[in-house]
Each structure stands twice: as C-alpha cells, then as structure tokens.
C-alpha cells in the first residue's frame, strides 16, 4: 500500500508510528534490531564470493566474531568486483547500480549495488524524513497529495536521483519540474522550469543538497526580479490567481519594508530537506529565505539513507534497519591516520560517548555489498537521548568528511592524490604544500592551499597568489569534473592560495620533528607553520637597521 493510500486508511498517529516509530525505541531495542539484521547480512555476505575474499573460508556466527574476522574496508577492497558489476559475487541480486565520483581526478567513478530490500528500506526511511521535515512536534506532519516539491538533486544514476523516484513510489506529490523532464534538462533549465511551475501551482517542499538548494533559492529571487518586468498578460497566464494575489501583496509588503522579495513571501513552505555536506553553512540563509528551518538528512551512495534530524532539528538519529553502525573513536582514528596499516578498534551505537567525534563504519543490511566499510564521514555524538523529544537514542551531528578528503559543499571529493595530480599537470614549481578546508567570513566552505615555491623558479617566473589560483583552478577543473560543477552550478571558485616563504616547511619539520600533514592539518599546525615562516625571518634581521629603531 502506498503512503497516500495509507493516509486515507490510517490515522496520523498510526502513520507516525509506522514510519517514525523507531524514535521510540529504547537503546537496547534498537541494538536488538541492529544485531538481528547484522546476523542476516552476515549470513548473506559470508556465503558470497565477495565476502569470502575477506573471510578466506571462515564464517562468523556472532556479531563479535564478525567484527573480529572482517577487517575495516575501503572502496579499494571492493573495486575489482563492483566496478566490473559482477552481480553473481554479491550477497544478493542488485536491481540498481548507483554511481558517484570516487576520487577526483584519480579514479573516475565508484558504483554501489542496491537490492530490492535495500530500496524498500530506503523508501520507508525517506518517507520518515519527509514526514519529519514537515513536523513541528512529535506525531505531527503535514503532507498532502496535492503538494508540490521543488527539488535540486542530480538525476540517476546518482544516489540523489533515487530520492524523488522513491518518494513518487509512495505519494503523488508533484515534483517541479517533473522527474522525467528534469533528467534531460540542464541545471539552469531545471531551475527556471521549477520556478515557473512553482509560481503556477505553489511550492510546499524543497529538497536538495544544502548548497544547491541555497543557490536555487537565490536564483528564485533573481528570477522573480526578471519576472517582475514581464507583462501583466503573461503573468496572468502563467501564475494562478491566488499566487498572483499573494505576489502583489508580497511586492507591496517588501516595498514597504524596503527589502527584496524573498521566496517565503510567495510560498508557504511545509518543509525543507537538505542532504550533503556543509549544510550548516546554508541552514540559516535557507531559513531566512523560506521561513522554514531546513531538516538535514544523511544519505550516501554506499550507505543509502541512514539518518535524519527530527522536528526539533537538534541533531540526527540513525535508522536501525539501514546499516549496522560502528564508530572509530578519535584516538583510534588518529592512530589509523598515522599508521594506515593499523586496524582501529570500533565502538557500537550503545558505546558512543557524548561530545566525541567518530569516523563511521558501516555494514549495509539487506544484501548490501559493503561490510565494515569506512565511508569517510565524521559524526559527533551530541547526546544520548533527548528528554524534550522523548527519545532515548544517541544523537549525532554531521561534522565533515575524514581529514584526508576535502569536500566542498557536497560536490567534490578532493584527496591528496588529486591535488598532487593537478599540481604536476600545471607544471608549477610548487616545492611543498598543504591543503585545508576553511570557511570564508560569509561562512562558505573553501579549500585553502598553503604553498611553498621552489626558490629557483622565483627568479625566472612571475608567480603571484592570483596567478597560482587561476592556474591551479584550471587544472582542478580539468582533473575533477565535480570541481568544475562548483563553478558551473554554484558559481563559486573555492580555491584560496597562500604562498609561504621558501624554507617554511623545512623549518617546521626541523622545529617539530615531523612534517606538516598534507591534508587538513589541525588549525594549530597551520598556525605553527605560519609562525615558522616568521621565525625564519628573525635570523636574517640580525644587524639590520630596523633593530636599532
């Protein structure tokens, strides 16, 4: 039965219990589901060729044995089987292969198989997200079949393309523009079509990557302005009378308040759902634009939809039936970064400690391919339970990708290899470098590259930070199409260059006995690096005339 049929058959309370009832579980009940589903997955995974490449003839019978026998894995471990789409080697028959970028410039794509059961679970969990996006308190939601959803998501075969399809499976909400038409449109065309349809029918929900949703929302304002210049006749034909009335009243109000027209003036939104990284940078702005606080969901290509925020928007909870969750504690994570051969110890959902940041490790249920998989995301446990929400489960906040990856606005996955590759291709004589994800004063993410040039090249070439930035940007776009999309779709160039004095990196190594981490060094490391640059200057000042001033 589809959700919209259930809406006719069941009360709100019953529907809430069905979809969002997992929030009422006690931690032990939650773990019972986790463990039981893992036993099922263990059986499937252990008996398939893919599982046996890790287990080598052994067969775990308990959760503890599974955690002991199966090492932590990365996509490299699955690439041979998955990239060639060897379905017979998998735990269950996939019905769909979802793809995403693997590592900018190095490995073009990675694919993940989805079984029928995974999709069913995904669908139910997405509906739960949808309900909670419109809820203001427990048990309350506001969904109607006559609603319209503006969405800013990439189409299939990307994971984001699944979401509208799965929602469509459950409820006849109108997507703006229709999913089928959107697949053949460019990003800009989609925005314009979505806006036009929104003006005609209204918009009740917005769904997309946080960054893209923000960009689309800004575009709506711009489109609004351009639409303001069109003739009354065209307005009357393209906008519904109620919308037109609302539009005129909003224009009057904005003029009175001396501000630009915002989407919230035109549309009475029920909820915004956003996925991806860096959503925190956009949430406040989105709330200002739409008048509704966005609700974050947590979904990915490999893990499916694993978690959601609730009506309070005070942190997210993981669905018990999507994946088996393990968490690498901070110290183990550090040890693993220092020694890639080290197998970090993990803790389970009932062992996490509030305030700690963990790298998540997932075993996908329902015949998924990935077991004890390091998907590369960091989560901070913000608390166990929430009295005001009457929830007893651990609550999390998404932090970012693991330090070895720089993800800008959910678009890119820049690794050390990608940067090295871009620098090599550029032919720039960069002697040393380190990259760190930072945020601009406007709270927008950017990649800050600290570079040290070869002394020889300084005398023969004109190299400024601006030249380096433009030069490297070209090559980043060349090696990484997602990076190119940042400019194309969001109109941002997230590269910031700081040229360090020659010898700074060596000085740092001498002073601290180790090199600076290439990717995402700690802020204190960067500060130390900068201070090394200053100290490097001091010996030369000896005897200079400034000393006597």
């Amino acid at each position: 039965m589809r959700f919209q049929e259930k809406m006719r058959e069941y009360s709100k309370e019953e529907l809430w219990r069905e979809y969002c009832g997992f929030l009422d579980l006690s931690l032990s009940e939650y773990m019972t589901i986790q463990r039981r589903l893992l036993l099922e997955q263990m059986e499937l995974w252990s008996s398939c060729a893919l599982g046996q490449t890790f287990l080598k003839g052994r067969c775990p019978h308990t959760v503890e044995e599974f955690r002991e026998m199966v090492p932590l894995t990365t996509y490299d471990d699955y690439a041979a089987t998955l990239l060639s789409k060897q379905a017979s080697d998998l735990p269950a028959e996939p019905v769909l292969w979802i793809q995403t970028t693997w590592e900018g410039g190095i490995h073009p794509l990675k694919v993940a198989p989805y079984t029928r059961s995974m999709l069913d679970t995904y669908k139910r969990n997405v509906m739960a997200c949808f309900m909670m996006a419109t809820s203001k308190c427990k048990g309350d939601f506001d969904i109607s079949v006559t609603d319209h959803m503006l969405y800013a998501l990439a189409p299939l075969p990307y994971a984001t393309g699944l979401l509208p399809l799965l929602l469509k499976d459950e409820i006849d909400v109108d997507f703006l523009p229709p999913v089928k038409d959107a697949a053949s449109m460019s990003f800009k065309e989609r925005n314009i079509a979505g806006f036009k349809l929104g003006m005609r029918h209204g918009i009740e929900y917005v769904f997309g990557l946080g960054s893209v949703t923000y960009y689309v929302s800004r575009s709506l304002s711009a489109l609004q302005k351009s639409a303001g210049g069109s003739s009354l006749a065209s307005k009357l034909t393209s906008i519904s009378p109620t919308r037109l009335l609302r539009y005129l009243s909003a224009m009057r109000k904005c003029k009175k308040e001396g501000r630009e027209l915002l989407p919230r003036d035109l549309f009475q939104l029920k909820g915004i759902m956003c996925a991806g990284t860096d959503n925190n940078c956009y949430k406040d702005d989105l709330e200002r634009l739409w008048g509704v606080r966005p609700m974050e969901i947590f979904a990915g290509t490999e893990p499916t939809c694993i978690g959601t925020e609730t009506w309070s928007r005070e942190g997210m909870y993981f669905f018990p039936d999507a994946c088996f969750y393990e968490f690498i504690p901070p110290r183990e994570m550090e040890r693993s970064m220092a020694d890639p051969t080290y197998q970090p110890r993990t803790v389970l959902m009932d062992e996490v400690v509030p305030g700690s940041t963990y790298e998540i490790v997932l075993t996908v249920f329902k015949g998924g391919a990935f077991a004890r998989y390091r998907v590369g995301d960091l989560y901070r446990c913000t608390g166990i339970g929430n009295r005001s929400e009457q929830i007893q489960l651990p609550r999390f906040a998404y932090v970012d990708r693991v330090p070895s990856i720089i993800d800008i606005a959910g678009f890119t996955r820049i690794s050390e290899n990608s940067i090295r590759h871009a620098i090599e291709l550029s032919g720039l004589q960069v002697h040393q470098w380190t990259a760190k994800k930072e945020y601009s004063p406007e709270n927008r993410p950017l990649m800050h590259l600290y570079v040290e040039l070869s002394p020889q090249v300084l005398t023969t070439s004109a190299i400024s930070a601006q030249i380096l930035r433009e030069h490297l940007s070209v090559y980043f776009k060349y090696v990484d199409h997602d990076y190119q999309d940042l400019k194309k779709i969001l109109g941002i160039d997230p590269l910031k260059i700081t040229i360090l004095k020659c010898g700074t990196f060596d000085s740092y190594a001498q002073r601290f006995g180790r090199s600076v981490r290439r990717m995402n060094p700690e802020s204190c490391e960067v500060a130390d690096l900068m201070s090394c640059q200053t100290q490097l200057y001091h010996p030369r000042r000896e005897g200079s005339r400034y000393d006597r001033v």
């Binding site: 809406m7 058959e9 219990r17 009832g21 997992f22 039981r36 099922e40 939601f141 018990p320 329902k366």
Partner: protein, 845 residues
C-alpha cells in the same frame, strides 16, 4: 393512529430499541453511555411529540414540554457524544453548553418565551397543532448555531490531514447533516404536516449506531439478545393492542356475538400469539442479519471446547483447532508452532501434509516477542507497519509471503506464549474481520489451555517412561514396547540387543559416581544417535541397556551392536586432561523369529548371550546360538568354578613373588588381610564384601614387586626421590590386577589404601567418604600392622601405642567411625595380634 403518526411511533421504537439493547450491553467505553443519553434525549423528543399529537394523558402541554426537553438537550448531548467518540477529554465546554440549554429549557417551561405550546385545531376531521413563532423563537437559534459551529470546528480540527478519523466520523457527520436538513426542511410549506424532523432523527440514530459498530465499540450478539427481542415485541404489542383492543372487542362481541368474557380471553390469547410471533420473526430477522454466522461460530466454539477438553494428545488438539478454524473461517493454509522444552517454536502441525515443517523460531525472535507482549491476534498487514517488523529477515518476510500468511494468533496460557498459529488468507477472501479475530482469540484461548495440559501430561507421560539419567526409555516401558513391537513384527523380524557395561562398579569406584553417571549418559547418547528412529533404546538396569530393533535380522543387529560397542570403547579417548579407563560392553543379540518364538524366549536368549560373553572375558558381541545355551546349562549345573577360586592360586603366586624380594612381605599381606576382614565383619559388611576386603588385603602391596629392593629394605629414612618411587607401588598394583579380570573388583580398595581421610594422601588425594570404604578399612589394617611390626627402619610399637596413634589420627589419616570399631576389636581380643619380632613388615610408604 392517523396521518404520519407511524413515523413518530417508528422513531420511538427505534430509539427505545437502541436504548434497550445498549442497556443490556457492557458499557466499557464512555461513548456508549453518552450514546444512550442521546437516545434518551431523542426518546423524549419523539415520544413527547407522538404523545402530544396523540393527545395522550395528561395533557398536550405536558407532552409538548417533554418533547421540547428532548429538543433542547439534543445538541449538548450530541456534542458530548462526539467528544467522547473522539476520546476528547474536554469537560468545561460540554458542561457550559448543558447549563445554557437547561436554563433555556427551564425559562421556556415557566414562561413559554421561546416556543409556546401549540394550539390544537380540528380541521376537516383532523387534529392539527399550530405553533406560534415569534422573534423570540429565533433567540433559541443563537445558542444552537453557536454550538453547531463549535461542533463543526471540533470535527474539522480532528479530521484535518487525518483520513482515519474522518472515516470514523463520516457516518456521524452524515447523520448530523440529515438531522439538520430534516429540521430545516420541515419548516418549508411543502413538507408541512410530514414529521421530517422525526424521520431524519431515525436516520441519524441509525447512522450513529453504525459509527459505533464500525468503531467496534460493541458486539452485535450482545445487543441482539433474547430479552431485548421480547421487550421490543411486547412493547409493540402493547402499543398496537392499546389502539385496537376496543374495536376488536366490539367486533368480537357485536359482530361475532361472543360473550364479553370470551372476547377478552380471545384478545389476550391473540395478544400473546402476536407477541410470540413478533418475537420469533424479529429474532429470526435479526439473527439472519447480524448474528447467524456468529452464533454458528459460537456453537462450533462450544463443540470445540468440549472436544479438546477430552483430549490429551497435543496433535489431536491442534487438529481439532485446525478443523474448527477451517469450518468457521476457512483459510487456505495453517501452521501451528508449539514451544518446545528448549523454548524454540517448531511447526507441530500444518494444514496440509505437503506444507513445509522445518521452520524453527528462536525464543528471541521478534514475532515471538511481539505476540508475547500483545497477547492477541495480529494481522500481518498491521505487523508489517511496526518497528519490530523491521528486524525481521528478508527470508522470513519472503516465507510469510510464500505461505500467504495474513494472521498470527498467539496461544497464551497463564500469560505465557506456548504457541503460535499462522493463518493464510481466507478462502472466501476479504481479509480477517474483527469477528473472525474474536473467534480465533476465543478458540485459541481454549486451545492454549488444552495444549498446556497436553504438554504437562506428555511430560509426565514421558517422565514415567523415561530413565531420568539418560533420557532413554525405562525398563517398564521397554517391556511394553517390546511386547507391542513383537506383535507388530510377527510377519517380519525383531531383534533384541542387550548391552551390559563391563566392570561398571569398578569404574564408579575408581572415578566416582558422578563420572559413572556421565559415562552412562554418553553411552546412551551414542546408542540414541546410532539407532536414530530405527528402533528403541532403553536403560533396563543400572549398567544394562536394551535395543529393540523392529525389522532387523540377527546379523544386522550384531553389526549395529558392534558399531555401538566400538564407539563405547573409544569413548574416553577424547577426554582431555583427565585419564579415564576404557569402557567395554558385553553384548548379546537375539532375534525373532530366527532364534525365539516369544518375547520371554527372546529376552532369555539375549540374556544368555550376554552372560556367555561375561563368562568368556567380557568386551564382546555374541549372537545367541544353541552353543551358548549349552554353555549356560553347564554353568547352571555347577560345573563352573567361582571367580575367586579360579584366581586364588594366582593371588598366592603373586604374593610369593613379592616374598622373593622381601620375605616379610608375605606375612604383612596376610596380617593386613586378616585385620581388614575382621574389621569389615565387625562393620556388618556382607560376606562377599568381607571376602573382597581379604583379597584386597592380600594384594594391596603387590605393586611393590616393581620397587627396587634397596629402597624396600633401606634401613634409614627415604629421600624425596625414593619416597616418590615407593608411592608408585599403589598404581603398580592396579596395573598388575587389571590383568586379572575376575579380581579387578579389588582395585578400588587397593588404589585407595594410602588415601588419607583428610585428603592429603595419595595417589588421588581423595577425601572423607569419597575414599571407598574398602580403602579406609585397608588403611587402618595396614597402618596397625606396620606399627606393631618391626621394620627395617624402626622397632615395633607396643599395641597400646599403636592404638593411641590410631585414635589420635582418627579423622585425619583414618576414618573416625572405623577406628573405634577396630580399637574395640583389638582391645576385646576379637582381633588376634600377629606380632613379628624380627624385621617383619615392609616399609610403610
């Protein structure tokens, strides 16, 4: 009755009927009471109106005010009904409205301010009631409209976005609309004279009734009771006859010329007949409408209850349940899971023998948890919408789908889940209705108790037939089965195998009774696993097992027995870190019709084969033959020597062997044998026990054959190494005696004669009563002889000193209960002292 009075009468009956029916029902929910209140209000309204129009006693004015009371109170009653229907707890607003309308009613009663009493006008032979409406009448509409608005607001608030509640309220909303429309329409000239308001009231009442029925707030069978039908039939008759009694009486007396008294009797009889007919028709109609199916189910349930109460076999009970479910509901497939002793739920019965039965559900299965917590029927469509369902495996979901399961019914007995019935879709389609679930709940409640009783009976039955230690069939049941199987196998064959564990008493004494029990359990497990369901395994005495093998010939039975004997032989090889002796079996095999024509003969022949093996050195499998019988006959005729006599010469030979190493040893052994046997006698032990003690005394130091002479005869104190060598003589003795199968019963005594009562002895450091009593006796005898004799390292103690030492060491080295007996024997002269004056007894290790 004139004009449209029948409408008022119908309304009256309708409300009265609804009120009466609910009066008989259990009022578990507040909404039922509110509904009854609403019926009273409507009854007042319709009844008052009807009585007024009929100009009943006492007056039109009286009935007018009764009718108005109903009208004024209808809206607050309606409001309260809807709030209770929605389970809304608000009380202030409902009471406020009640106060408003009661106040309006009272005001009108005393002043006629709002609606005055109508004027009765006779026009064209018809009585008409003319109401005078003035502006004050419209004042009454103000609270009416306000409360209606509030009612609408409440309904809208509950229905907003909640289709479920809207569905529940739909009949009520429809009823309200019809009632409102009826009341408005009756003011229109076109409907003048027709009591549309009353008619709409009937429809409204029926719709409210339907809403309650849909919400499952009552059961139809409870409403359509015999009493209710009688009451309604009687009421109808009273009303009808009250109108017709006079004309009929006139007709009977004037037209038919009946006497007045006969006319009355005829009318009374007629009334009785009509009442009865009315009752029968009404009951039949309502039964066919509502309860025929339910009653049929009740009858089935009652039959089922009687049937299962008589049965104590679980499968029969389940079959009864399957039958009653098939008859009452009709399902395609059924699976009956029953909890086993290990708390796992296994399929005990299926609707069809072709259905899969290999499914087991562990006690922590989510479905089991869920049903245990809920305790009532569960539809898969509801279960699939729970969080618990999320923890089900895909394979399990697939299985439910493949079996077309729609309903799970728990078998609960004493708050315990003892089974689950899984039912597929109904043959007639349409899914399980609440009435079906209610029936299933009743049937399974009865069944659960019966199943639990059957399980208890089965357990007791099995316990009475099973050996407690091994779980095998016990001796009594073994003979029962043997007789039964013999009868069954008359046209084929039946083999009997009797397996007797060799020297098991020794094994018990060597390793303790617990280890002995474990060995028996392991042997039983071997047999059970080997036989599987091809026959029966029984423990027919302490160390004797029997196998009944229907369809086996002697040769196959012998092969099977050899297989078992071989497994038993290797049984203790796998014991890690603890050296246990090898277990062997003496096995006899016989089979009918080859070598026996009756059960006693079969048993006797098999027994003979076993004894024959025992006499021929044990540890073998022997098929019964005539030769075996001859040997046994010879034995019985006394041509056979006793075990001890056979080996008496051996014992003396062995003791002589020690003598060659130490010529005093022989005397020591003789002395110890003498002291020990006397002590055993004094302890009241039987003669054969005394004999064993004597033989053990003779042989207890036989292991010293293996000890070097320089150690044996060393004049001074032994060093640690020498002492360790000396201690080895105990195990050496056992090693020698093992090779004398008929004397191995002395081993426990020999091996424990150096154990101390306090647990510090050797070789096994046994303590207290764990030391075999023979060992404790030998220990005292050995020490006494050692003390009272000259040794290579000491002179002899006086007897008094030896007795003193024995008493001092009682409870430490010696058994404190045996020492006083021994001392008494010595002091009384019952024991004659065997004192050696020269180097006599060997070294006490």
């Amino acid at each position: 009755m004139t004009g449209y009075s029948w409408i008022s009468v119908t309304a009256l009956f309708c409300y009265f009927f609804l009120f009466l029916t609910f009066l008989a029902a259990r009022k578990t929910k507040k909404v039922i009471k509110t509904f009854m209140l609403l019926q009273i209000v409507m009854l007042l309204w319709s009844g008052g109106s009807f009585a007024m129009r009929s100009q009943f006693w006492p007056s039109v004015d009286f009935w007018h005010h009764i009718s108005l009371a109903g009208l004024f109170l209808m809206l607050p009653a309606y409001y309260a009904f809807i709030l209770d229907f929605l389970e809304d707890k608000r009380t202030v607003s409902r009471h406020a409205w009640e106060v408003v309308f009661v106040a309006a009613l009272l005001l009108n009663y005393f002043t006629g301010f709002l609606i005055s009493t109508p004027t009765v006008v006779q026009q064209g032979g018809e009585t008409q009631f003319l109401y005078e409406f003035s502006w004050t009448t419209y004042l009454f509409l103000i609270p009416v409209v306000l409360q209606l608005l509030q009612l609408v607001a409440v309904i809208l608030r509950y229905c907003k976005g909640d289709a479920g509640i809207f569905l529940q309220l739909k009949p009520i909303i429809l009823g309200m609309t019809i009632l409102l429309a009826g009341n408005v329409a009756c003011t229109l000239p076109v409907f003048r004279g027709f009591p549309l308001d009353i008619a709409s009231g009937i429809v409204n009442a029926l719709l409210l009734f339907y809403a309650l029925y849909r919400k499952r707030l009552f059961r139809m069978t409870l409403l359509v009771s015999r009493g209710n039908c009688y009451a309604v039939a009687l009421l109808i008759c009273v009303v009808v006859f009250s109108n017709f009694v006079m004309p009929v009486q006139r007709f009977l007396t004037e037209r038919l010329g009946l006497a007045s008294s006969y006319a009355v009797i005829t009318i009374a009889m007629g009334m009785m007949l009509v009442t009865f007919l009315l009752y029968s028709v009404m009951k039949a109609f309502l039964d066919s409408l509502f309860v025929r199916e339910e009653q049929a189910q009740n009858e089935m349930l009652s039959t089922f209850s009687r049937n299962v109460a008589r049965v104590l076999n679980m499968n029969e009970i389940l079959q009864e349940l399957a039958d009653v479910i098939t008859s009452a509901i009709g399902v395609h497939r059924m699976f009956f899971f029953i909890r086993g002793e290990d708390d796992h739920f296994r399929v005990s019965l299926t609707g069809s023998p072709l259905d899969e039965r290999s499914i087991t559900m562990a006690p922590d299965h989510p479905l089991i948890h869920y049903l245990r917590d809920r305790g009532d029927c569960l539809l898969l469509k509801d279960f699939s919408r729970t969080v618990t369902y999320r923890s089900l495996w895909e394979e399990e979901k697939r299985l439910f789908g493949a079996w077309n399961i729609e309903c799970f019914v728990p078998l609960m007995a004493d708050q315990e889940l003892i089974g689950i019935v899984m039912l597929s879709g109904k043959e007639r389609g349409g899914g399980f209705k609440p009435d079906d679930l209610s029936f299933l709940q009743s049937a399974t409640s009865v069944c659960a108790i019966a199943v639990k009783n059957a399980q208890l009976y089965e357990k007791a039955y099995q316990e009475a037939r099973k050996d407690e230690l091994t779980g095998l069939v016990n001796r009594k049941y073994f003979y029962e089965i043997l007789n039964q199987e013999f009868e069954k196998a008359k046209d084929t064959s039946l083999a009997l195998v009797i397996l007797n564990v060799d020297d098991f008493k020794l094994y018990n004494q060597l390793y303790g009774a617990k280890e002995g029990d474990r060995a028996l359990q392991r042997i039983a497990a071997i047999m059970q696993a080997t036989i599987s369901d091809h026959g029966y395994v029984a423990r027919i005495s302490g160390k004797e097992f029997g196998l009944i093998l229907p369809g086996y010939d002697i040769y196959s039975a012998k092969l099977l027995a050899e297989n078992i004997a071989e497994q038993v032989r290797t049984l203790n090889h796998a014991q890690d870190g603890y050296r246990l002796g090898q277990l062997t079996m003496s096995v006899g095999v016989c089979a009918s019709p080859y070598m026996a024509a009756s059960v006693p003969e079969l048993i006797n022949n098999t027994d003979m084969a076993v004894y024959s093996v025992k006499r021929s050195g044990k540890n073998a499998v022997l098929m019964y033959s005539e030769e075996v019988e001859q040997k046994e006959e010879q034995r019985k005729s006394g041509k056979h020597q006793s075990g001890y006599n056979t080996y008496a010469s051996t014992i003396y030979a062995l003791t002589a062997a020690i003598d060659t190493k130490d010529h005093y040893t022989f005397n020591h052994s003789q002395n110890v044998a003498y002291y020990a046997s006397e002590l055993a006698k004094a302890c009241g032990m039987p003669q054969d026990f005394v004999e064993i003690v004597r033989e053990a005394g003779l042989l207890h130091d036989i292991g010293k054959i293996g000890i070097r002479e320089d150690i044996l005869n060393k004049p001074g104190k032994l060093n640690d190494e020498e002492y360790e060598v000396m201690k080895g003589h105990v195990e050496n003795a056992v090693g020698i005696i093992r090779y004398l199968p008929s004397l191995d019963y002395v081993i426990p005594a020999v091996i424990s004669h150096h154990e101390r009562y306090d647990g510090y002895g050797y070789p096994r450091k046994l303590k207290g009563e764990d030391i075999p009593i023979m060992g404790r006796i030998l220990c005292i005898a050995d020490a006494f002889d050692a003390m009272t004799s000259v040794r290579s390292y000491k002179k002899s103690f006086p007897v008094e000193r030896a007795i003193q030492v024995l008493l001092e060491e009682a409870g430490r080295q010696f058994d404190p209960r045996l020492v006083p007996i021994f001392v008494e024997l010595v002091q009384s002269g019952t024991i004659e002292l065997k004192v050696q004056t020269e180097f006599s007894t060997p070294r006490q290790a």
